[in-house]
């Protein structure tokens, strides 16, 4: 039962990830990434991490990806142009991809007998909150500082540059505009 759920949502994850690579319009890639994040939230639920699953939906799929969609809409990103291919990349890349695939298949078939049971570890908000505010307090405070710096950085970087007049018009300014 849990294996069936894992396989269904795992296939949805991989399909979304591959769709992100295949699509040429960035908005389709963004929507595929949202599908990947939502199915990952279900995988987290299967691992007993219910708080992390809810936060994944609220923060990652509900806020960060909204930011991505905004930027794609604002910059009016169109379809991608094809890049020039490279023979060396094909020569080295395809065998390495094959090697990675063989390694993954080997690890799936020769897995250890340890299985992950649903409900073995219960990540409920109370326990996570207690840990976050006692044992991991320092990283918590540092990340809050990090967010503050990121907000300031984003506001400064995205603000419109000031327009300075050049040429004969500059001599006629009354000095009221900066």
């Amino acid at each position: 039962m849990h294996l069936a759920l894992f396989l269904v949502f795992g296939i949805v994850c991989v399909a979304g990830a591959v769709n992100l690579l295949i699509q040429s319009h960035p908005i389709q890639s963004a929507l595929s990434l949202i599908v990947v994040m939502a199915s990952l939230a279900v995988e987290y639920l299967l691992l007993g991490a219910e708080f992390v699953a809810a936060v994944q939906v609220i923060v990652y799929a509900g806020a960060i990806m909204v930011l991505f969609v905004f930027v794609i809409m604002l910059l009016n990103a169109g379809e991608e142009e094809r890049s020039q291919g490279s023979h060396i990349a094909l020569l080295l890349g395809l065998p390495s991809l094959l090697l990675v695939g063989v390694l993954l298949a080997w690890s799936v078939t020769h897995h250890a007998t340890d299985s992950v049971r649903v409900g073995s570890l219960y990540g409920d908000p109370r326990t996570i909150g207690k840990l976050l505010f006692t044992q991991y307090l320092l990283p918590f405070e540092i990340t809050s500082l990090l967010i503050l710096i990121a907000i300031m950085g984003a506001v400064v970087l995205a603000s419109k540059p000031e327009v300075t007049p050049v040429g004969p018009a500059s001599g006629l300014t009354t000095g009221k505009e900066k």
Partner: protein
């Protein structure tokens, strides 16, 4: 029950797709989304190991990864907007000169 290696294989596939997207795509925003995909793959690994070793610190680290991803997305997208405003293109192949 689901063996742990299944979760790790899924995480590896997601991470590999992220790396492929980062190297092969030409649109800045899609490259950035591939970075987010890589981070998601790593998050799955963290949560899977937290469940196997009965240590909640894996799930707590996922929070910090998410927070860092949010901060990085905000600043990175602001940089992308700046690049678009000055170079008027979103294709990384065209952003190859230090001076305009």
């Amino acid at each position: 029950m689901v063996p742990l290696s299944y979760y790790l294989v899924l995480s590896a596939i997601l991470f590999a797709c992220g790396v492929l997207g980062f190297l092969l795509k030409r649109n800045i925003i899609t490259i950035f989304m591939s970075i987010e995909l890589m981070l998601n793959g790593v998050n799955l690994s963290f949560v899977a190991f937290a469940s196997q070793w009965h240590a909640l610190s894996g799930q707590i680290f996922v929070f910090f990864v998410m927070v860092v991803a949010a901060a990085e997305a905000a600043v990175g997208l602001a940089i992308i907007i700046s690049v678009y405003r000055t170079r008027d293109t979103l294709n990384v192949d065209r952003v190859d000169l230090l001076k305009l």
